[in-house]
């Protein structure tokens, strides 16, 4: 919908031009920002013209630009030894939004929106990703700590999520995935990922808790239109036990 309070859109091409006045916010694909009224938002700084390469393979793993679209991520031709890669497809398909949205929506935008059901949050938590934040100074935060609550995260005004990093060890791990919603393709009620590590299984739990967790033993279960707290907790526990068996 038209964002009626927005008075200016900046399209920077260099880091120096990334300036945020009071009331300004970074803009990725726009698929969430433009989907609701945004009271108090007076300006947008469009990151899409920054020209960040969407996906870069490094010796340490994979760097995903915040502006990489879901369609670009899906289209990436991953090396066969990246056994965790099916998780990408599973998480993208967990989005309530359809493939038409994937052409615009970005990985960074999904994480920065910080909804409990954020599918890219689930992916990056599941693969033990970290977030590179541009600010003064720049900093790196594990994605599990990046999202702090329902639509809240660690970004300060003026900071920008630059990219996400997935370590090679996660990409080459074995993974498992379970998800349930109140309808077959509805918004996530709970999503549980599992990944093999040298120290046993690492779980990622999103959707049913206000922020990501690694264990079902947490006090963050909540009730909304996408499921009751007790059901979300029970389904997550069920999925953890199923995945434990599956990856044993």
């Amino acid at each position: 919908m038209d964002l009626i309070t927005v008075r200016e859109i900046r399209v920077p091409r260099t880091r120096d031009e990334l300036v945020f006045d009071e009331g300004f916010q970074p803009l990725g694909g726009g698929t969430w920002l433009y989907s609701e009224e945004q009271p108090g938002l007076t300006g947008l700084v469009d990151l899409m013209a920054m020209g960040w390469p969407p996906l870069t393979v490094t010796d340490e793993g994979l760097e995903i630009a915040a502006t990489c679209t879901l369609a670009q991520l899906l289209a990436f031709d991953a090396p066969p030894e990246w056994t965790a890669w099916p998780l990408v497809d599973q998480c993208v398909n967990s989005l309530l939004a359809s493939f038409k949205i994937w052409n615009l929506a970005t990985v960074g935008g999904n994480i920065c929106t910080s909804l409990p059901a954020g599918a890219m949050t689930a992916l990056l938590v599941g693969l033990d990703g970290t977030a590179q934040i541009w600010g003064s100074p720049d900093r790196t935060v594990p994605v599990i700590d990046f999202v702090t609550g329902d639509r809240t995260n660690v970004l300060e005004h003026g900071e920008v999520l630059r990219s996400l990093h997935i370590p090679l060890s996660s990409l080459t791990a074995r993974t498992g995935f379970r998800r349930i919603a109140l309808s077959p393709l509805g918004r996530t009620g709970t999503l549980v990922t599992a990944r093999t590590t040298p120290h046993g299984l690492a779980f990622g739990i999103t959707g049913g808790t206000v922020r990501p967790h690694t264990s079902t033993d947490n006090g963050d279960w909540f009730t909304d239109a996408h499921g009751a707290a007790d059901w979300r907790q029970a389904m997550s526990e069920l999925f953890v036990s199923e995945l434990t068996e599956e990856l044993a």
Binding site: I9, S98, L104, L185, G186, R187
Partner: protein
């Protein structure tokens, strides 16, 4: 910036924060619709540089140099895209409001795509998706014949699929003003002071309307033939606010954005009043009174007890009937608040004609009734008013209501300018009336051989802050749901109660579905208790021709007749079709059925007049008053006229739903489009055919047909389900869905099948998924992403079977069938789930979390 739309260059300067959808429509590209403006529904789908996107969330500042393709760019009426042709041939739409976006999306798919996944971002509220799948797969469901009984194509079909059929707001008007509404932040409050000075000072604001501008006339937003059927409890703008979101003031400005920004500049002081949200509390002593200020002229039954309407009636003696019973079952069932989610939101555009007469173009099921009530409210001469609809993008009962027309009238009269008021999707969830939430307790008694000895129903309806349809819904709800059973001892206690919640209103089925859910669930319990097959138990107790059709008054006067009777056939058709099916490992399976009866048209008068004229160009101009909103009546009217005249349907030109045609019609509700208006059409066309035969010439001939909506017949639906349920998660999988309908002689089999599938899909939504929730009067489900309308993936194929009957009362033997298919679905599904799980679900929706809890209890 420059870009192209459908090959045509566009030069535009989008506003910061603007999206492609609104920019396209500002440039008169009306093939792009708005279902949500939030990225959820797909009605606004377009192709940008080869990629399909939702234009309502596509930032317009990125358009430089791109090529945009809308449905109108894919093909035209003369040269349709193959996908567009396929949607016409398959009859892949009803109201057609989703269709332009659906066609655009479908044009980007490849063979073998999983449609459930690919179409999850395209919602259709009408069809149930089967015909859309057929269209995409190239299945042809229509025929070229226009005889009654053939699956003729909808006359507007090619325009609908190419995005060229105009809906309510699809026309360019120069210097149009827009209206935005300040909603009450309180559930119950009185305006102490209101100052509009600051808002008026904003550049571009033309007027701010408050209760001081409002006529002091009480009316009802609900519309019926008799205005006295509904309570006069509403003002255009009222100094007392009775629910959150109720209009406090309205701004009229150069753009929607300016009008909305000005809302923040209206200064209001409220006196907050105590509020009540639970109907049981509301009717208890000491509760805050919602309409305590109203007198008898409002026709509220007991304003001092918050009771809008009540019915307490007994036939025979339920106590004696229960005493004589070998088995007694009892239980309480609840149904939730459901939103219609017609894909086109409510909207009106109004202006003054060259003689100063008021003209309203509105998304309504009842243009004539809107005209008459506005004339009453504003003391206008109806002869100098014109109210009309273009094609309406879905209704389901939600547009039998004045929700935008009155404010637009006030604004046009105040400013003298053209003014538009368009609901947002959030408005639809927060201020448009919903289906009535209900609590129904049923007690049944029967002899060991399954003969009912007693039926008792106690119903409580939450009618919300304004009464609108609350009286009719209550009386209708306990009508055919009980009169379908032959039982000497029946008792009904029903009350429709005011609260400070969002108002409830008319919804497909008009109250029947809520009571049928409880009664048919209780019948299922009774069958189990007695060890009798549920079909057999129905057979032993349903009315058959000769039985009186009564609720609780044995010698009640009414005009319901057995014009035909196919309930026995419907029961057998479903029973024979249902086959036991295995579910996945670890899941439990079950079967269930339920029946529903409905009168073929609304009671208390429904009038239609039609005129058919031979035009100079050799076409037949057929003037009808009723509206087309996806119910398919226009197709049937063309077939009826063509059949009577012995000409192809494309010779019939239909001019409809416009008070300027002068052919009165009470409106498109109560499933009246075929049986009332259609009968009038057939009468007119038959009379014209006789005149042609007598005079041997066509020139200047014309004939009129009328119908007064009485006597009425009865129609039947039986639904059966086979399901699998996963007790560990609460998931339900529908393995088989069958509905048999007794619609008399079928006028258009493909359309009728579509109505039944659409009704079934909407009912599956109500049964399993949809729920509008409120928290202390505040709606918490305010967007489609938080209110789950069935997607393609959620709707199974339903086998549709027709009873073979011929109705003595309807046109060419037909009966109505648009509300009815909805009614038996929820109880049939609940009965199947009960059969599978061994525990009865009693509350709608039967969501996965609830079923999981039920299974683990």
């Amino acid at each position: 910036m420059r870009f192209t739309v459908d090959g045509t260059p566009v030069e535009a300067t989008p506003r910061p924060g603007q999206v492609l959808r609104s920019l396209l429509r500002e440039n008169d590209h009306f093939a792009v619709k708005k279902g949500c403006d939030a990225g959820d529904c797909g009605a606004c789908s377009v192709i940008v540089d080869g990629e399909p996107v939702h234009s309502c969330i596509y930032p317009a500042h990125r358009l430089e140099g791109v090529a945009v393709t809308t449905a109108a760019g894919l093909g035209s009426v003369e040269h349709p895209h193959p996908v567009q042709q396929a949607f016409v041939d398959a009859a892949g739409f009803q109201c057609g409001f989703c269709t332009a976006g659906m066609v655009v999306t479908a044009s980007t798919l490849s063979p073998g795509d999983d449609l459930a996944v690919k179409l999850k971002g395209n919602l259709c509220r009408c069809t149930g998706y089967r015909s859309i799948e057929d269209a995409i797969c190239g299945v042809v469901n229509t025929s070229a014949s226009s005889e009654a009984g053939a699956s003729s194509k909808a006359p507007a079909g090619m325009r609908v699929v190419t995005g060229s059929e105009p809906y309510t707001l699809d026309l360019a008007t120069t210097s149009l003003l827009h209206l935005a509404v300040l909603g009450s932040p309180h559930s119950h409050a009185r305006i102490q002071s209101i100052s509009v000075e600051r808002a008026l000072g904003l550049e571009g604001v033309h007027a701010v309307l408050t209760h001081l501008d409002s006529p002091d006339v009480l009316f009802s937003t609900a519309r019926h033939e008799l205005r006295t059927d509904d309570p006069d409890d509403t003002r255009v703008l009222d100094p007392v606010l009775r629910f959150q979101g109720q209009r406090v003031a309205a701004v009229v400005a150069d753009s929607v954005a300016i009008a909305e920004l000005a809302l923040d500049l209206i200064d209001v002081e409220y006196e907050i009043l105590p509020a009540v949200f639970d109907p049981e509390q509301a009717r208890s002593a000491g509760a805050p009174l919602v309409h305590g200020d109203k007198g008898p002229e409002s026709r509220i039954d007991e304003p001092q007890r918050n009771v809008l309407a009540q019915l307490h009636g007994e036939m025979g003696s339920v106590a004696e009937g229960l005493a004589a019973a070998d088995a007694v079952v009892t239980g309480t069932w609840t149904t939730q608040r459901v939103s219609h989610v017609a894909l086109e939101t409510h909207a009106t555009r109004g202006w003054l004609d060259e003689h100063g007469g008021l003209v309203l173009r509105t998304s309504s099921q009842v243009p004539y009734l809107v005209r008459d009530e506005l004339a009453h409210i504003f003391s206008l001469d109806p002869a100098r008013m014109r109210v009309f609809t273009a094609r309406v993008g879905g209704g389901f009962g939600g547009k039998q209501e004045i929700l935008t027309e009155d404010l637009v009238t006030l604004a046009v009269l105040k400013t003298g300018r053209a003014v538009q008021y368009e609901f947002t999707r959030e408005d639809e969830f927060t201020i448009a009336p919903t289906r009535h939430p209900s609590r129904v307790t049923v007690t049944l008694g029967a002899t060991a051989d399954g003969v009912l000895t007693a039926m008792q129903v106690d119903e409580l309806l939450d009618t919300g802050a304004y009464g609108n349809h609350g009286i009719g819904v209550m009386f209708h709800g306990v009508g055919e749901s009980l009169s379908v059973y032959r039982c000497a001892n029946k008792r009904v206690d029903a009350e429709s109660v005011y609260t400070n919640n969002l108002p409830s209103g008319a919804f497909r089925g008009y109250g029947l579905g809520q009571v049928i859910f409880a009664v048919e669930s209780a019948m299922d319990d009774l069958a189990r208790e007695l060890g009798i097959d549920p079909f057999e138990l129905r057979r032993r107790n349903v009315i058959v021709p000769g039985d009186p059709i009564v609720v609780t008054e044995a010698d009640e006067e009414h005009d319901l007749l057995y014009g035909s009777y196919g309930l026995d056939q419907c029961l057998s058709l479903v029973q024979e079709a249902l086959v036991p099916t295995d579910g996945p490992v670890g899941w439990v399976t079950g079967q269930g059925m339920a029946l529903a009866m409905i009168a073929s048209m609304p009671p208390r008068g429904h009038f239609a007049e039609t005129v058919i004229t031979v035009a100079d160009d050799g076409y037949f101009d057929l003037r009808v008053g009723t509206a087309e909103f996806g119910n398919g009546t226009t197709t049937v009217h063309a077939q009826l006229a063509a059949t009577a005249l012995g000409v192809p349907a494309d010779r019939i030109r239909i001019l409809q739903s416009d008070t300027a045609t002068g052919t009165y019609d009470t409106g498109a509700f109560g499933s009246a489009g075929v049986v009332v208006a259609g009968k009038a059409v057939f009468a007119a066309a038959t009379a014209l055919a006789e005149k042609i035969a007598a005079s041997g010439s066509l020139v200047g001939l014309s004939a009129t047909g009328r119908h007064d909506g009485t006597p009425r017949s009865i129609a039947f639906n039986v639904h059966g389900f086979s399901v699998a349920v996963n007790p560990a998660t609460g998931e339900v999988r529908i393995l088989q869905s069958v509905q048999a309908a007794d619609a008399g002689t079928v006028m258009n089999p493909e359309q009728l099948r579509g109505q039944i599938e659409g009704g079934t899909a909407q009912a599956i939504g109500s049964a399993l998924y949809e729920q509008l929730t409120l928290d202390e009067g505040r709606v918490t489900t305010r967007a489609l992403r938080n209110y789950h309308v069935p997607q393609f993936a959620d709707v199974p194929r339903t086998t549709v079977l027709f009873a073979d009957t011929h109705d003595d009362l309807g046109p060419l033997g037909a009966k109505s069938m648009s509300e009815a298919p909805y009614n038996p679905v929820a109880p049939a599904l609940a009965n199947a789930i009960r059969d599978a799980l061994g525990v009865r679900p009693r509350d709608l929706p039967m969501s996965r979390d609830r079923l999981w809890r039920l299974a683990s209890s």
